[in-house]
Symmetry: C2
Subunit: 276 residues, 2 copies
């Protein structure tokens, strides 16, 4: 840890920073402070790669799992993060993971509007409506990243995109995929103005997802876990499609259905000679 | 609960049945007793639908979430399960879910051999090797069920298929999809003898999964979370394929990669006019 200065040490569980970090698991304190928690080596590395200006980085060497942590601390400090070295016990208090790896950062929240999105000529977007479980939203972000979506638009969110479990389930992809939060009618009007066709996945659709043309400017629209798509999207989407299922009616959850639809779109859009 | 007799009541946390149920979370006591735990309304309903002869059903009405529980108890008792009514506290002790719903059954383990599988003329199989996380194995079973796999073969298992988290993540699909545990060389020899072609997913492959022909007798072979496929399968599978990824190199986990590959096979095998 040569290049790292001398970070402040914290061992008291009563330290106000420790108390504040625990509070940041809840949305209101997060929003009031305009920050959120990023726990774990992979997630913090991705934040740094994407030039997220981490405010603080809390670390506890006795929890480290690998050998690259000092380089990460070094990079974070050079990027302007304030470092704090915690006792094993103090870190256990602030960690929200089952298996902490001794690294937890505080990052600034951001707000991005639809008009901030710089769409390519033939955009491929994912719209998710009112997703309830942070883990599902995080997994969906991973799918969108892997499938090459240009942006993810979260309509009428039930879960906060800065929830620690979104960050965790996304494995830090939250920092890579442009993410916008907005209201469904606003999103629909904007997509229409951009000439983006909307494909809505719903079990009641006649057409099968893989039988329809998924080329051209496209937004795949997915509903919530419990209620599926709202009346608004069922009525206003250009084309409803469904994923036929062989087994139990509820075998696929929303994250799985999203992945299947996105990868079919990617397959069609890439053509048969997609480079690696 | 009219048709249900008078179940034995348990409120003491020291009751030997309570202690035994807690022990059954671990593999050795499960294997010694030849049973496993099935918690939750949906999972128990699926076990009953598939004529699994539940040994015992433990319930605690104060935890119930719905209105159909008495009918389920009735069905279980008629199918030969012994019922036990637990105090809220006793049920909290045996529940392994975060949000218990007051229902936990003990089911008999089964052993199925490759030769027990009744394959159709054009079989579609999934082979998974050494999957480590029960949650991933359960999710993979859901995918296989939804994609219409005729069976799932688990090679060289690291996680026990009767682990409570496999049951939970599979949402009870464990009871629907024929599941066989065996060793990789045995499985390969058997597949070859049956004329089943093996497609192995590995990042090093040249061919892209959606560019190859996935028709005919087929087994998709997936490796473990940490190590991918073993040398054995890399050497012996008929065709390696890869899933191209747009974003972060590790965006897809094994459960996601399995789903994408299975649904591409399903798409090709169903043809363009798949009925619902």
């Amino acid at each position: 840890m040569s290049a790292v200065g001398t970070p402040e040490k914290i061992s008291s569980l009563q330290n106000p920073r420790i108390k504040q970090l625990v509070k940041l698991r809840d949305r209101r304190p997060r929003d009031e402070a305009g920050v959120f928690l990023v726990e774990g080596y992979r997630e913090i590395r991705r934040a740094l790669e994407k030039k997220i200006a981490l405010h603080e980085l809390y670390f506890s060497p006795s929890w480290f799992l690998g050998v690259n942590e000092p380089a990460l601390l070094d990079a974070a400090e050079k990027a302007g993060a304030q470092l704090f070295e915690l006792s094993a016990e103090a870190f256990a208090k602030i960690a929200y993971r089952e298996r902490p790896d001794g690294l937890l950062a505080v990052a600034p929240q951001w707000q991005r509007a639809l008009t901030d999105l710089a769409l390519p000529a033939n955009p491929f977007l994912l719209v998710v409506e009112a997703i309830e479980k942070p883990g599902n939203l995080g997994t969906i972000l991973r799918s969108a990243d892997a499938a090459g979506c240009d942006a993810v638009i979260v309509c009428d969110p039930v879960t906060d995109i800065f929830n620690p479990n979104v960050v965790r389930a996304s494995t830090g992809v939250l920092f890579s995929v442009p993410l916008v939060v907005s209201a469904s009618p606003t999103v629909h009007a904007w997509l229409t103005a951009q000439g983006v066709r909307t494909i809505a996945t719903t079990p009641a659709a006649k057409e099968i997802y893989s039988d329809v043309n998924l080329l051209g400017p496209l937004a795949v629209v997915m509903g919530s876990e419990q209620y599926g798509l709202s009346e608004f999207w069922l009525k206003n989407a250009d084309l409803p499609v469904r994923i036929p299922m062989a087994g139990q009616a509820d075998s696929l959850n929303v994250a799985m259905a999203t992945m299947i639809t996105l990868f079919e779109a990617r397959r069609q859009r890439a053509g048969p000679s997609l480079p690696g």
